[in-house]
Amino acid sequence: MARSAATVAEGTRSDTPGPRSREEQVYAALGSVVDPELDEPVTDLGFVRSVAVRGVLVEVHLRLPTSFCSPNFAYLMASDAKDALVALPWTDRVVVELDDHHDSDLINAGLAADAGYRGTFRHEAEESLDQLRETFRIKAHTAAMERCLTGLLRARPDLAEESLGEVTLGDLPDDEHTAALLRRRTAVGLPARAEARVLVDHRGRPPADVPLALRRARSTRISIDGNAHFCRGLLATRYGEEPAFIPLTTLTKENR
């Protein structure tokens, strides 16, 4: 199962001329797949082990920090990856496999047969993974909100914690934290208007106790940040020398 990402990439280098090679398109499509728990793309996390493109055939191998990462998240990422690749206009046959996981056989068979979540996990599945996704979309919004408000507190020491309930999107600086918050707000269905309040729950309700709501949001942000760090560290420990897949063409451009 193990293969060298560099070798695979080299074999397909001259495949498709054009503005973007098919390999790059595959990589870009995989960049839309997010680890819901860590709220980061699988490409940034190093979860893409290899990509092989032969004409209209694509084979992608994914890897995770441990054999015992939660199987529902593992399946979500692998099936999202397959969906993203099938959606590319030129792909005809897409194989996505998860390597080295305790549920690799089950998940890979389910993906190959397009069995869906319930078809893959049978008696262990009830309805869908929608609720799981929603739980983590809400957490991602909470964390993004806390980053913005804590950033504001640090930038403006005169600001009282109690007054944060009045802060609106328009009060936030035009930076990456604000951009991230706007994306998370859209994901949970909250408006992006400048006059909209920042400190709200996923349904737009302001809290009764502002400092306590901020503390709770902070614990969510700390938890997500900590997990992301731990997962990256474990992945690096587990796979050591073996780098994640990056398209050669991308590498070449970056080196120029």
């Binding site: 728990e37 920090p65 441990t66 054999s67 015992f68 990462c69 939660s70 199987p71 529902n72 399946y75 305790h102 996990f121 008696h123 262990e124 599945a125 009830e126 309805e127 869908s128 993974l129 609720q131 799981l132 739980t135 983590f136 957490k139 729950d201 809290p207 009764a208 106790d209 400092p211 306590l212 709501a213 503390r215 709770r216 902070r218 614990s219 969510t220 700390i222 938890s223 940040d225 900590g226 997990n227 760090h229 731990f230 560290g233 474990l234 690096a236 420990t237 587990r238």
Partner: protein
């Protein structure tokens, strides 16, 4: 006992194991995957000079455990928290007989906790009664992601779990250590969710629930549940070694815990043999919240003493020399404990 700068610390390592993951005990590929996962935890979070060779990691044996904990590790008392993993290992992962005999031979230094599984039904209840008598149980360690035939996990809202807890209460097995694992049925929801603890903590006010790994990877959910229940505690297994790899994150974990659950309900543990207690204790005593993290108060020496041993000693009635003991802090039973109490009722649903 650990002494530094004239201060003496009574040490209770509240989560240790005596495991056997050698190939001859591995039942299938998952036995290897499981110990490899532990070994990656160990390699990833340990200082370089503390990393063991893989072979040493597979099995330690009684002698090495006694050496690592008590001869060089400063530990006064340690508590076995075994994981059974019967589907992965022929003779189980935690070595029941060896650990129990060791505890029997060293009652002033070791406490043996056992485990149960609600999916064993009536027969398991009988077994629990027999085990309680044979081992003189004060506590149990429950791993919710234990595989069991077709099932790969259970939750505390299972009516059978309720019955097992009733028997624990009846038999005086008061300390329920919970490790939330990743595989559970149905897979529709977050397996690490600790919400089911909320209900049993309310239903069994006489039992202590120690959530291992302080709920990681769901620290926030743990803090929120624990702050509302007077009998929910946090075990620092797995959180401790971040003190080395990521001290600022460790500071945040501790800061959050002290805010939400207070200084009397946090228990130190090395999670031996994933890590060894010596370096963790030395670093913890030297540790301080970074000055720029103004959202958290600095850690006091008394808080460190409580976390390193006095809290677990109180829960397990482990005798502490009078000159080393400290009274619990005058904290509220529920709601954020520090720096000041807050009325949670007013913010329900936030």
């Amino acid at each position: 006992m650990y002494t530094k700068d004239g201060e003496k610390y009574f040490i209770v390592d509240a989560h240790v194991a005596l495991w056997d993951a050698r190939p001859e005990n591995q039942r299938n590929i998952h036995g290897k995957q499981f110990i490899d996962c532990f070994y990656d935890y160990h390699r990833n979070l340990s200082p370089e000079e503390e990393v063991w060779p893989y072979e040493d990691y597979l099995y330690q044996g009684s002698e090495r455990l006694m050496h690592d904990l008590f001869e060089i590790g400063y530990v006064d008392h340690a508590i076995f928290q075994p994981a059974h993993l019967g589907e992965f290992y022929n003779n189980g992962f935690g070595q029941t007989e060896e650990a129990f005999q060791l505890a029997k031979a060293n009652p002033d230094r070791l406490t043996y906790n056992h485990h149960w599984d609600p999916r064993n039904g009536e027969a398991g209840l009988e077994q629990l009664r027999a085990d309680a008598e044979a081992y003189g149980l004060k506590g149990v360690k429950l791993y919710t992601a234990e595989w069991h035939g077709e099932s790969r996990g259970w939750k505390f809202d299972d009516p059978w779990a309720h019955r097992y807890l009733e028997v624990c209460q009846e038999l005086g097995i008061t300390n329920i250590h919970v490790h939330k694992g990743p595989t559970i049925r149905p897979l529709d929801r977050d397996a690490f969710d600790v919400a089911d603890i909320d209900h049993i903590a309310t239903d069994f006010p006489e039992l202590n629930f120690v959530i291992e790994h302080v709920g990681l990877p769901r620290l926030e959910d743990f803090c929120w549940i624990a702050t509302q229940e007077p009998n929910v505690h946090g075990g620092l297994a797995v959180a401790m070694p971040f003190i080395h790899t990521r001290p600022r994150y460790f500071a945040q974990i501790l800061g959050e815990l002290i805010y939400w659950i207070g200084e009397d309900r946090i228990q130190f543990s090395s999670d031996y043999a994933i890590w060894t207690p010596k370096w963790l204790i030395e670093r913890f005593v030297d540790f301080q919240i970074p000055e720029d993290m103004t959202e958290y108060a600095p850690l006091t020496t008394d808080q460190k003493k409580k976390i390193l041993g006095l809290n677990a000693a109180r829960m397990y009635d482990i005798p502490v020399p009078a000159e080393l003991d400290i009274l619990p802090a005058p904290e509220t039973l529920v709601g954020p404990r520090q720096p000041e109490a807050a009325d949670l009722g007013a913010t329900a649903g936030v």
